[in-house]
């Protein structure tokens, strides 16, 4: 009936997602019945107090973890029905990541870090694409530097370049500006925005920064493991 095309329209669907952790003989529900749908091309911010379950949710949406109950459907594929390896392959093809703590591979240079997702796919022209991206993030001259030789902001820009290397359909970012000063944070955010505009990919971002959240097209508010607000930007 109508369900098929519906799924096509939405890039990401969470259906009654619940995540429980066992602590001793107690089950603690960190997320309870979280449901929402995100259309393709949107820029969504997830906000909420510390400990409300933002990181947990992001991990579930990206298929890094599996929910205790409920479903996550990413670009038409039900993540909860896939094996670890299938999810890895899906991530390689369609998903990009930006972490609060950058998570660059310390033993690889900036350029090599950017190349990794492409090379894992066996794509051609990984080096050229890496150079493009380096130029795009304004670090062309620093390609041969190891992560520890770069500043935090520079490292995060490399991480963003890496996230966009394989033209992901969707990009997840967990407090990408959390470790950066306001000005640098703003620049990183702008980079994300412009890449989003150029590539048309969907972005899901966790942030504490209310200012930044306002610039998103939609804000999902979490508290104590449940969705307590979901607002579309007016403009």
């Amino acid at each position: 009936m109508l369900s098929k095309p519906t799924i096509r329209i939405f890039m990401l669907i969470a259906k009654e997602v619940t995540r429980e952790y066992r602590s001793g003989d107690q089950q603690i529900a960190v997320l309870r019945d979280v449901s929402f749908s995100i259309p393709q091309g949107s820029f969504v911010a997830i906000v909420g107090p510390s400990g409300s379950g933002k990181t947990t949710l992001l991990g579930l949406l990206a298929g890094l973890d599996t929910p205790t109950r409920g479903q996550v459907i990413l670009d038409g594929s039900d993540l909860t029905k896939m094996s670890e390896n299938e999810r890895a392959r899906l991530r390689g093809e369609k998903v990009g990541f930006v972490f609060q703590s950058f998570q660059l591979i310390p033993t690889l240079t900036a350029r090599e870090n950017i190349q990794v997702p492409l090379e894992l796919q066996g794509a051609d022209g990984a080096a050229a694409r890496a150079d493009d991206l380096l130029e795009r993030i304004g670090l062309k001259a620093r390609g041969h530097h190891f992560p520890m030789q770069l500043s935090g902001g520079e490292q995060q820009r490399v991480a963003i370049a890496r996230a966009f290397a394989n033209n992901p359909r969707i990009l997840f970012a967990d407090e990408p500006t959390g470790n950066l000063d306001a000005a640098t944070g703003a620049r990183v955010f702008e980079l994300l925005e412009s890449l989003n505009r150029e590539s048309g990919s969907t972005i899901v971002l966790v942030t504490h920064d209310a200012m930044l959240a306002q610039r998103a097209s939609r804000t999902i508010r979490l508290a104590d493991g449940a969705v307590v607000g979901d607002t579309e930007a007016t403009a």
Partner: protein, 900 residues
């Protein structure tokens, strides 16, 4: 309001107790891990403790039982009946020192049980009524030993009854004598051991020996006299001054202390060899500890940075972790010592058949404490090296964390670091000197260790360099990633190559040396078809024996045997030659003394003489006995052809044409010729039972002794010995057990003095013993292989965390399990190949050196085993590496999000 303590309470330093408490709490998370790293030294400690304790046990047991082993205070022996001169000497000794004597004549003979018709070669021991002075011989039924004093009875090894199908109460004939089997032997001091090859023991009263009529001219026999001295008399002091006289009249004398030394020497050598293995195991463990602790240190950077922020001094931090490492090292050593003690309790059953005494296993505190001390020290000094790096961790790391390798980098000329390196090198040398028998050996061991480490480090550097150079863009990504891991910052190339290569080196060297040693025992029984040997055949018995054998089978070889001694070489009498040699030895030791060198120890002199082989009728050489080869009895033969077990290495075989007037021709076995300093063309005059016969040396032969064929030091041309008094040996091929038994029985009945040996029985016994030897050796090889595993684990552990973290991140970025496995495979396979190959090549050098210099043998590398070990080490490395890969999949990619 709570009040703060007064300012004076903050003295700026934590008390020892506070620091100890902090250390203890801080160790909580890593205790098990640290202990795991420290377990690398446990096996080395176990080896040292086990072998030292065992050697101490054996030495102690031998000391306690040495009088019983010998049976008296002094034992005299000769292979001829005592001359008037020899008897006079013993009489004087008795008068002067109050010695009393017991007799034991030992010889091989055929035993026949008429009731069952069974025959078997046995060792007869005809003993006087007072034999032995010390030690108790027990029998089954009990208390029958004393029957030897009064009646014509025989006491026999139980195995004889089985093989002759007889029981206590049967009569047994030896030659023409008839004895009643009164009991079986239960416990005789000294184990039968290898002597069992000759045959079971049969004790009879000396009084009835003549009735056997077995000791005819030329028979092989050992005439022993045991002396008992009054309490407190020192046998060595009494015998010492008489040595030259004893030697001259060819009477061997052995005191309790000498026999003690002889019996413990073998075990001492063995324990030294194993001790060196244990030492190297310990060093290998040290390398494992170092890489394990390095991993530990990397984990501690954050904690240390925080502690430093909170005000801990770098000295306090270092003290904390050194204390943790030392405690764990001690526990690892104690665990090793406990394991060693467990092994010690098992060793007597492994070595039972090679030991002359029943070993009482007791705890040896000295051995245990030494093992723990050495192990603890090695653990401490090897962990100090990486631990020193923690001093450099700056509190700034809490704010901006650099890569592990960056944080832990030390300058090469950092003084504490240099001091630790020097202390480490000195410890290695000191412990090597402690274990080795000579300074030179100790220095060679430590030198070789450093050289091996140097070569391995170099090849690791080379591998990093090569992988950087060789890397090509068009290689598949996973291969490139794996190869690049070999040279990227914080790579593990050096530590893995070092532990792996060192492990492969050690294990392969051991196995190569062992297989070379084993090769000597590899008796090629199958090469000769003979299964029956007859010996002590008198001249007039030869033809009838020969035809009897031919009627049941084939005669493969016969050889006449003429017993003789050397009278002179190139017209210099044996006495003169020995006099010259003495003078030379004295001059030599004088010269040594002037050069400030140590005089040769007995052991070194023995080393120099070890080459002497024991041919037929050969006898264990006594320590430091000059002129033995000159004075011994030679049982020689004559023939006109070479046998298949001989090869001419110099000169020419007898020529029918060559005539040297009265001088016949003789061919010498190469090693004896060397020992006697005999060259081609020398003229040797022999004393053949009173007749002087001259012979010219016209060839030197190499002889394969390890074959059941009669072989000889000296072979004469037939012409020269044809008329000498002789006996015969005959090799036969008789098929079928009943036929063999019947022939043996028939010949014993007609010619009681002719002995025969069923070679298949001998072969079984030899194989039984060899199986035990190889079990013991295999045990050692397995042990050393086991040593390699924990060391390799800690080497890989050092960077395991990085690999896992990286793998998880790659997984987040979309890498599949297969891709991650391939990356790890490429890296570890390269490490494995280079490490094990370098180790193997070094081991072939090491094996050669040990075989050549320590055991004085030819070396031929057992390439098959070497390659197999290299393969096993490679497999192990890859397996351990892939295990890290498994952990990547155990952790969910969530940890990438969570880890700050």
């Amino acid at each position: 309001m709570t009040s703060l303590p007064p300012a004076s309470a903050y003295n700026g330093r934590a008390s020892f107790r506070q620091l100890a408490g902090l250390t203890w709490r801080e160790s909580r998370s890593a205790r098990r891990r640290l202990l795991l790293y420290m377990s690398a030294i446990s096996l080395g400690v176990a080896a040292l403790v086990a072998i030292d304790s065992f050697a101490d046990n054996v030495t102690r047991s031998v000391r306690e039982q040495s009088r019983a082993l010998l049976g008296g205070d002094i034992s005299f022996s000769s292979n001829r009946p005592y001359t008037a001169e020899q008897n006079a000497f013993l009489d004087t000794l008795a008068i002067k020192n109050g010695a009393t004597y017991a007799h034991v004549v030992t010889f091989p003979s055929m035993a026949l049980v008429p009731r069952s018709g069974g025959t078997r070669l046995v060792q007869v021991r005809a003993v006087s009524a007072n034999y032995p002075f010390y030690g108790e011989i027990t029998t089954e039924p009990a208390g029958r030993w004393s029957m030897l004093k009064t009646a014509p009875v025989a006491l026999v090894d139980p195995s004889l009854l089985v093989s002759l199908n007889a029981h206590v109460g049967d009569s047994i004939t030896l030659g023409l004598g008839r004895f009643v089997i009164a009991a079986t032997l239960k416990d005789v001091p000294g184990s039968a051991g290898v002597a069992e090859i000759i045959g079971p023991r049969v004790f009879i009263p000396e009084r009835y020996l003549p009735e056997t009529q077995l000791l005819v001219f030329g028979s092989t026999a050992d005439y022993g006299v045991l002396a008992k001295l009054p309490n407190k008399a020192n046998p060595d002091k009494i015998i010492g001054p008489e040595r030259p006289k004893l030697e001259k009249m060819q009477l061997r004398a052995r005191t309790v202390t000498q026999s003690e030394e002889n019996t413990t020497e073998a075990i001492k050598q063995l324990s030294q060899f194993i001790g060196i293995v244990g030492l190297v195991a310990l060093l290998l463990g040290g390398v494992g500890v170092a890489s394990g602790v390095r991993a530990f240190v990397a984990r501690k950077i954050d904690t240390v940075a925080i502690l430093r922020c909170l005000g801990a001094s770098s000295g306090q931090v270092l003290a904390m972790y050194v204390a943790q490492a030392a405690a764990m090292g001690l526990i690892g050593s104690i665990a090793g010592a406990a394991l060693g003690v467990a092994v010690q309790f098992g060793l007597p059953s492994v070595f039972k058949d090679f030991l002359p005494v029943d070993v009482t296993v007791t705890l040896e505190p000295a051995a245990i404490l030494t093992g723990i001390a050495i192990g603890g020290w090695i653990a401490l000094i090897f962990s100090l090296r990486p631990l020193l790096a923690l001093r450099n961790v700056s509190p700034l790391q809490t704010l901006r964390r650099d890569a592990d390798s960056e944080v832990l980098r030390m300058r090469w000329n950092d003084i504490p670091r240099v001091a630790v390196n020097v202390a480490l090198a000195l410890s290695v040398v000191a412990i090597a000197l402690l274990r080795a028998s000579t300074v030179r050996q100790g220095l060679s061991i430590s030198g070789a260790t450093f050289a091996v480490i140097g070569v391995l480090t170099l090849s690791a550097v080379l591998l990093s360099w090569l992988s950087r150079k060789a890397l090509r863009e068009h290689w598949p990504y996973v291969i490139r990633q794996g190869v690049a891991n070999l040279y990227r910052p914080a790579n593990q190339t050096q530590s893995v190559i070092l532990s792996l290569g060192f492990g492969a080196f050690l294990i392969t060297t051991l196995v190569l040396v062992q297989s070379n040693l084993l090769k000597q025992f590899n008796i090629k029984v199958d090469k000769s078809n003979a299964n029956l040997v007859f010996f002590d055949i008198q001249e007039d018995q030869f033809l009838p024996v020969d035809s009897m054998v031919r009627s049941s089978g084939k005669v493969l070889q016969t050889a006449p045997i003429v017993t003789m001694r050397i009278a002179s070489i190139n017209d210099r009498s044996v006495e003169q030659i020995i006099g010259d040699a003495r003078a030379r030895i004295t001059a030599d030791s004088l010269a040594r003394a002037q050069r400030g060198e140590k005089p040769l120890t007995g052991e070194e002199r023995r080393d120099a003489q070890r080459n002497a082989p024991n041919g037929p009728g050969g006898r264990q050489q006594q320590a430091g006995r000059p002129g033995w080869a000159l004075r011994r009895d030679y049982r020689s033969t004559y023939r006109d052809k070479l046998t298949s077990s001989e090869k001419i290495v110099q000169g020419k075989w007898f020529s029918a044409a060559a005539q040297h007037g009265d001088t016949g021709e003789v061919s010498f076995e190469k090693d004896v010729a060397d020992e006697l300093h005999i060259k081609l063309g020398d003229v040797i005059t022999w004393d053949v039972q009173g007749v002087q016969i001259a012979s010219r040396v016209t060839s030197l032969r190499e002889v394969t002794w390890a074959r059941f064929e009669p072989n000889f030091f000296a072979v004469f041309s037939p012409r020269s010995l044809r008329d000498a008094p002789k006996q015969f040996v005959l090799l036969a091929d008789v098929r079928g057990t009943p036929k063999v038994a019947a022939l043996q029985r028939d010949i014993v009945k007609r010619f009681p003095n002719v002995s025969s040996v069923d070679l298949s029985l001998v072969q079984q016994t030899v194989e039984k013993i060899l199986r035990k030897v190889s079990t013991a050796i295999r045990f050692m090889a397995l042990f050393s292989l086991a040593m390699g595993i924990p060391v390799l684990f800690s080497a890989v552990a050092a960077t395991r965390r990085d690999r896992i973290r990286e793998g998880v991140l790659l997984k987040t970025l979309g890498a599949t399990r297969g891709q991650i496995m391939k990356i790890l495979l490429a890296e570890y396979a390269l490490l494995g190949i280079l490490g094990s190959l370098t180790g193997m090549v070094l081991a072939i050098g090491g094996g050669w050196a040990i075989t050549h210099y320590v055991f004085d043998n030819d070396f031929s590398p057992a390439l098959g085993s070497a390659v197999a070990i290299a393969g096993a080490m490679l497999g192990l490395t890859v397996a351990i590496g892939l295990l890290a890969g498994r952990d990547v999949f155990r952790e969910t990619p969530m940890s990438a999000l969570r880890e700050g």
